[in-house]
């Protein structure tokens, strides 16, 4: 299929407008069905038994008493999920994370599960399962886990990426390095050098909907799974592989999803529910509690980062260096590597070096969280950049503009940039009235930049034209925040019809070809590309049908503004044929009219944002309020600007929570102390101001409409922007996120004591 994805510079009639979303009424009336809102006949209730220990050998599990309890239909352990991963290390980790095999590796690690006729029976059954643990020493802190005497989490892990192959196992699964030039030489040229260490605590994506699914496995090997997920095709692949099912016999339907932010890209409960259903011979519904969501799903990495940046008196950065240590939970990951790649991506640097260490700890397996790993690296780098600007005596915005990456700059992660948007976001911030608004006592202003990669990926879409001229659009990327509205706009634009004539749905895995997940800010970018391609294929059919109706050559039929138009003088007497008129005749001109598309949407293009933040800090209590916030980000082309604003605002709000409140707090026993929304406090309505947005549109050359992904970048700058604002307000550099009241008071006290 010859699809040309290049930007065409066209004008728009639908794209860029703000119509109501097609799934809206269902969502304001309570009719929309999420993960836990679906039931099957004869369904059982599934519940999971979890380790109370951070690190323990599972010596024996006795399920006999639970099995004898009336109403219990199945009890499973790791034995019921045998290893079918065939040497695929990442899938084996996923399997072990779903159900611990030899060791429980964190507080909350699943060790057994039951299916029973009701919730009460299931809960009773869990209490009857006897697990004999041998408790081992544990480690949850990133720096402690790197010490030589730290408890070893996996004795089969030897640090990858070292010059010499290590002889001893380690909690560091990998060392990675990025950069170019010679940083020693660069620092020698510097008139000013800032060197500082930073820490960030672990946070959770905090989606309001807990993981939920209904699984039904039949004796003939067919199965159904209803689940809230960011990628039902990926869940199908993973579940089929872990359960030994044939991919096409497992039909996965994605429910409405109540938030994901990266946290619903990984299977946890789903293989367990399928295994329970297979054993019980009945459908099983498994819904996590909030406590389980915190203890066993998500979260992001806790980090420890050292940064050193040097600059000349004229404000030119001469060298930049960072060492980044990220927790991965108890399994190998590549989270520090992403931090090492993104850390200095905003800047034009002659000499840059970043080193990442992936650190195993007794915490839940790290999962992606919106631009994963980038916010922590940006916090450290952008804090140091601000401090350096202050030492040189140059305005922090001017300092960043002077050193900003541009087209032709070698990115700190390697390649040379094409056209990019960091400069324009900085210029927009420089001109923004927010930067000139007066500040009162105890208030401070901060700004910071952020970078994220954005992905494309495999995408498959169907567009079917009904006989009344309405269009149904079936996409395979889960709608996490209004993409059905955006994709309907794109279909309407390409076909030249009204938005109201298009109805978009998310199809199940048996109705459409494979689609990658809605992650990496790819949903609207890639599915809009596939929708444009499908619409163009449908237009080809529409032109053929019009040619038949007129009895002329298809070469003489063009498609303009939703109509077939006969070209050439000899057809001068033919009027236009609307899509509706052609559709009405479709039964007589060759049957249904449809357009299909399968493609790999690559060339998503990197994304930049710059944020401005004002805070007020109460010096008595250390409490911080964000009083004004502005997001400036490049969208390429905003298909539905209201939902683009929503992504900017939502990312900023999550960043504000991360910067000021949110953290996983572990006790000395290695147990999570705050697995609930009361003690893990995400921002509430009264914590936040309005969040102003400015959408820049620098077209992406690799998309027909110029679209870029917008979902993730907005969470990258807030930690740094707020830290810079707080530091400016209190006069002390804040180096530990979250900047909770006790940390701010401690920093103020330390400053007073000198």
């Amino acid at each position: 299929m010859n699809f040309d994805p290049r930007y065409s510079g066209r004008s728009f009639s639908s794209v860029g407008t703000r119509p109501l979303r097609p799934d809206g009424v269902d969502k304001v009336t309570g009719r929309a069905r999420y993960g836990a809102d679906f039931n099957m006949a004869g369904q059982l209730v599934g519940r999971v038994l979890r380790s109370p220990h951070a690190h323990a050998i599972i010596k024996k599990i006795d399920t006999s008493k639970a099995e004898k309890l009336a109403g219990v239909k199945a009890v499973i352990t790791a034995k019921d999920l045998p290893d079918l991963t065939d040497g695929d290390a990442a899938m084996f980790d996923t399997l072990d994370n779903c159900m611990a095999r030899k060791k429980a590796l964190y507080d909350g690690h699943a060790v057994a599960a039951v299916a029973a006729i009701d919730a009460r029976t299931a809960r009773q059954a869990l209490k009857l399962i006897e697990v004999d643990y041998e408790v081992l020493p544990h480690v949850t802190d990133v720096d402690e886990a790197m010490q030589h005497h730290a408890p070893l989490i996996n004795d089969a892990i030897f640090t990858e990426g070292l010059e010499e192959k290590p002889v001893k196992p380690s909690n560091v699964s990998k060392r990675t390095q990025y950069g170019h030039g010679d940083v020693h030489q660069g620092f020698a040229q510097a008139d000013f050098v800032v060197e500082r260490s930073f820490k960030t605590e672990q946070t959770h994506q905090g989606y309001i909907e807990p993981h939920a699914c209904v699984a039904s496995v039949n004796p003939d090997g067919t199965a159904d799974l209803w689940v809230c997920t960011q990628g039902h095709f990926v869940y199908r692949q993973h579940c089929a592989q872990l359960l030994g099912l044939e991919v096409s016999k497992l039909r996965v339907t994605s429910s409405e999803i109540g938030g994901g932010f990266g946290g619903k890209t990984h299977v946890w409960a789903e293989p367990v529910a399928l295994a329970l259903s297979r054993k019980a011979g009945r459908p099983v519904k498994l819904v996590m509690t909030r406590d389980e969501v915190f203890r066993a799903s998500g979260p992001t990495s806790a980090t420890s980062i050292d940064v050193k940046i040097g600059a000349r008196k004229d404000g030119t950065i001469t060298a930049a260096e960072a060492t980044l240590r990220y927790t991965c939970g108890p399994y190998a990951g590549m989270w520090a590597e992403i931090g090492a790649m993104t850390a200095f991506a905003c800047y034009k640097l002659e000499n840059v070096k970043t080193v990442g260490y992936e650190v195993l700890v007794n915490r839940p397996k790290t999962a992606a969280y919106r631009a994963p790993s980038a916010p922590m690296a940006a916090f450290a780098v952008e804090s140091a950049v601000d401090e350096l600007a202050k030492e040189i005596g140059i305005d922090p915005v001017e300092f960043r503009i002077k050193n900003a990456a541009q087209e032709g700059t070698r990115a700190s992660y390697g390649p040379v940039y094409g056209p990019i948007g960091i400069g324009p976001t900085l210029e927009a911030v420089k001109e923004h009235p927010h930067m000139r608004a007066p500040l009162a006592q105890n208030q401070g202003r901060g700004m910071a930049c952020g970078f994220w990669f954005n992905f494309g990926g495999q995408t498959c879409t169907d567009l079917n034209i009904g006989m009344d001229g309405t269009v149904s659009l079936a996409v395979g990327t889960v709608d996490v925040g209004g993409s059905r509205a955006s994709l309907s706009l794109v279909a309407a634009e390409e076909l030249g019809i009204d938005y109201g004539q298009v109805k978009a749905i998310v199809a199940d895995t048996s109705s459409l070809g494979y689609n990658d997940m809605t992650d990496g800010s790819r949903g609207t970018f890639s599915s809009s590309m596939a929708t444009i391609s499908a619409a163009r294929n449908a237009i080809k059919v529409l032109r053929e049908r019009a040619a038949q109706m007129w009895d002329i050559s298809v070469d003489d039929v063009a498609w303009e503004k939703g109509h077939a138009v006969a070209k050439g003088e000899k057809h001068g007497n033919l009027g236009k044929l609307s899509l509706k008129e052609i559709a009405a005749q479709s039964g007589k001109t060759g049957g249904p009219i449809a357009g299909h598309s399968e493609l790999v949407a690559d060339g998503a293009g990197v994304s930049f944002a710059t944020h401005i933040c004002d805070v007020e800090v109460d010096p008595e209590t250390g409490s911080t309020r964000v009083i004004r916030y502005t997001v400036v980000q490049d969208a390429g082309k905003a298909v539905h600007p209201t939902y683009v604003e929503g992504q900017y605002q939502g990312g900023a709000a999550q960043g504000i929570g991360w910067a000021l409140n949110e953290e996983y707090i572990y006790g000395k026993d290695g147990r999570l102390q705050n697995p609930g929304f009361l003690d893990y406090r995400i921002p509430v309505c009264s914590d936040l101001p309005m969040i102003d947005t400015q959408i820049l549109e620098i077209p992406n050359p690799n998309h027909p409409y110029g679209v870029r992904g917008v979902g993730e970048t907005s969470i990258v700058p807030p930690l740094a922007a707020i830290a810079n604002a707080v530091s400016n307000a209190v006069g002390v550099r804040m180096s530990h996120i979250p900047m909770s009241p006790p940390r701010i008071l401690a920093a103020l006290e330390a400053e007073r004591e000198g």
Partner: protein, 81 residues
């Protein structure tokens, strides 16, 4: 012949080289020849590699051509949220 720049971990597997020369017209051929010339790359190729061509990152378009004189940069395949 295109000059391909390797990221750190891949460079170590190539015996400390940061660049290799490969005769390849597209990404598919590039990966095939890299695996032939450097069998140690295979686990990393299996885990997934992205190719930046003149700054634009391609993850799955194996038919993408490698234009004469283009900057070709290999990167690990990343996770997103």
């Amino acid at each position: 012949m295109v000059e391909v720049t390797l990221w750190g971990a891949l460079g170590q597997l190539a015996g400390g080289k940061s660049k290799v020369e490969v005769e390849a017209k597209d990404i598919r051929e590039l990966f095939r020849k890299l695996a032939e010339q450097h069998p140690a790359f295979e686990p990393l190729l299996d885990r997934g590699i992205a190719v930046a061509i003149d700054g634009t990152i391609y993850r799955d378009t194996w038919s993408k051509e490698l234009p004469e004189g283009a900057e070709v940069f290999l990167l690990p395949r990343l996770a997103g949220g």
